[in-house]
């Protein structure tokens, strides 16, 4: 009796998840390849909408990738040495710096965007270029990179590894290249995937920071929902989906592998 109740409960729960999570995705994606959404799939399937999206919004897709990978490069270049420094010199000041870096996690994207606009909005060239959006993305994603690298440092006893490399004669730079980075690889990779997916999907900040000439993919998506046929917006979603899912899967696989290797190593 009790077992049956549990089964029914689980079934209902699963169906609810499907109803709210999976069906909308499937519907949205099929809408993107349906000739006429209002007449249903019966009207036939087509790739024309995707072609249409490509001609209309290819530049936003390219820009999004450009921004995402530049953001990644910057967060790696800033975040990994920052994490190293923060971990090696634990002091009240380093705790404070860590808090400041982490702050964008707690502040709404809109507020960050507003602050950036207030401070740098006057620099016309900068304001109009994609670099302005890039700045916002770096501020927003940096804590993810730093946190993820710090987490790996904490479990690998990087301080002693650093000391042992220094006892063998390695300068701080050599230690960083030979010992710190290779042993933080897992954290850097996990952080990188997070930074890329966050940057690609970022709407909050970017919505405020963009100009008509510097739209990114999510901003373009909002734009197409507002002003285009539903099929085009859906086809756009489909493209976004195809791009982002492999990244999410990779992040998941990586996390699993990390967990496995950690449990194997006493």
């Amino acid at each position: 009796m009790r077992q049956k109740f549990v089964f029914v409960f689980e079934l209902i729960f699963t169906l609810l998840v499907a109803a709210f999570l999976i069906i909308p995705i499937v519907l949205s994606m099929t809408a993107g390849i349906t000739v006429n959404y209002f007449r249903g799939v019966g009207s036939g399937l087509t790739l024309a909408w995707i072609g249409e999206v490509w001609t209309l919004y290819a530049d936003t897709i390219a820009r999004s990738f450009e921004i995402a990978f530049t953001t990644l490069a910057l967060t790696v270049l800033i975040g990994v040495p920052a994490a190293y420094a923060l971990h090696m010199r634990p002091s009240r000041r380093s705790r404070l710096i860590e808090e400041v870096i982490t702050l964008p996690l707690a502040i709404p994207g809109l507020a960050i965007a507003l602050a950036l606009l207030l401070t740098y909005g006057g620099f016309g060239e900068f304001r109009r270029s994609w670099l302005f959006i890039l700045t916002g993305h770096v501020v927003f994603t940096l804590p993810f990179m730093v946190r993820s690298v710090l987490a790996v440092f904490a479990v690998t006893d990087i301080t002693t590894l650093d000391e042992s490399a220094s006892s063998l004669g390695a300068s701080p730079w050599r230690r960083f290249c030979d010992v710190i980075v290779p042993n933080a690889k897992g954290g850097i990779l996990a952080g990188s995937l997070m930074v890329i997916t966050l940057s690609l999907g970022e709407f909050n900040l970017t919505c405020m920071l963009h100009t008509p000439l510097t739209k990114t993919l999510p901003v373009g998506l909002a734009d197409s929902y507002a002003s285009m046929r539903l099929e085009i917006a859906s086809a756009y979603t489909l493209i976004f989906f195809i791009m982002i899912v492999p990244l999410l899967v990779a992040a998941q696989l990586l996390a699993d592998r990390e967990r496995l290797s950690r449990s194997a190593d006493p």
Binding site: S164, A165, S166, S167, L168, G169, N183, D265
Partner: protein
């Protein structure tokens, strides 16, 4: 294996106060001869690790303190330019490198030619008995193998000073004896100045040319293992090294007067109440009728290589005696204790 050239090490008024104001080390002066193995021994928190990290260059002494290598002031020189070797308690092997790459890392940093590096690595692999493991990853090694790799890596660069921080503590207690013997033989053959940090007094005895016994951030005694064992300077040293009976009793006419009799002691100017140390193995058993000191056996424990007895009624406190494992005594027996005067050692500070 060519003998290494070890440097003499000197500490001059080296104190250490941590950032939070905690005093880890009282200003300390210490000289270690070139090629000597000096053991820093003491309970945890005594400052032994801080001392060795100061010699390595991982900690700076408080202002006024100086670290000397061969008389040259190296206080301001960072660790990577001190040319030392170090073995950490956790071994700190690089997980991203193979065994051979770990051992050769210091040579790579020094831009040693590849052929020379490889022959040196091969030499050390043989010396430390880890042949066949060269291409293993670190996580594929046992604890004992890691300890050998860490040692090989530390000596590969022919350091002037070798520092070992509890290198055997991570091993299972039963598995420690063999590596300890091997380590001893290896250190002797290398001839490098060695600073060995441990809390294990048996390890200290076997490995040390001299031992620095430390307590609460200060030196309690410096001496050879024999001096530390037979002539402890204080009650703390006597009790920390081996087992010791510490007897407080009045001294009259060259005898310690106890409840169960008296013990003849070495000629001394001291009179009145004294603290004296007697090692359990220095006490012999004899018939009660002929003895100067008589007690009653309270417990008998057979430990294999000897009998450990506790004797009551001889003194105000329990006296521990190590007897030959063939002795036939039972709990409750009346027994005589034979203690030669040379086995009695007065302690300068009965209180400490």
């Amino acid at each position: 294996m060519t003998a290494l050239h070890g440097a003499s090490v000197g500490l001059r008024q080296c104190g250490k106060t941590f950032a939070d104001g905690r005093r880890a080390l009282e200003p300390l002066t210490l000289d270690i001869a070139a090629g000597e193995t000096m053991v820093l021994l003491g309970p945890s928190g005594c400052g032994k690790t801080t001392t060795s990290r100061m010699i390595a260059g991982l900690e700076r002494p408080d202002p006024g303190g100086r670290v000397l290598f061969d008389g040259e002031d190296v206080t301001a020189i960072p660790i990577e330019r001190r040319n030392i070797g170090m073995v950490f308690q956790s071994y700190a092997l690089f997980p991203n490198m193979t065994v051979a790459e770990n051992i050769g890392y210091g040579l790579k940093i020094r831009r040693t030619r590849k052929a020379e590096r490889e022959s040196r690595v091969a030499e050390l692999v043989m010396l430390t008995g880890i042949g066949g493991l060269e291409n293993r990853r670190i996580d594929q090694l046992s604890g004992g193998q890691r300890q050998r790799v860490a040692l090989a890596r530390a000596v590969a660069i022919r350091p002037r000073v070798l520092l070992l921080d509890e290198p055997l503590t991570a091993l299972d207690a039963l598995l420690r004896e063999r590596p300890r013997g091997e380590l001893n033989a290896l250190l002797r053959s290398l001839g490098v100045t060695t600073i060995y940090v441990t809390h294990d007094q048996a390890e200290a005895m076997v490995l040390g040319d001299r031992i620095v016994v430390m307590r609460r951030g200060a030196i309690a005694q410096i001496g050879t293992p024999r001096q530390i064992y037979f002539e402890p300077a204080s009650r703390f040293v006597a009790e920390f090294i081996g087992a010791a009976n510490i007897i407080t009793a009045p001294l009259e006419d060259g005898y310690l007067v106890l409840r169960g009799g008296r013990i003849g002691v070495p000629a001394s100017a001291i009179t009145g109440a004294v603290a004296a140390m007697i090692r359990p193995e220095a006490i012999g058993l004899m018939a009660a009728s002929a003895a100067n000191l008589i007690g009653r056996v309270a417990t008998v424990n057979f430990v294999g290589d000897r009998l450990r007895l506790t004797v009551i009624e001889a003194a105000d406190q329990v006296i521990t005696v190590d007897a030959p494992n063939t002795a036939t005594v039972r709990a409750g027996d009346q027994i005589g204790l034979a203690i030669p005067p040379s086995a009695v050692r007065f302690l300068n500070d009965g209180s400490a």
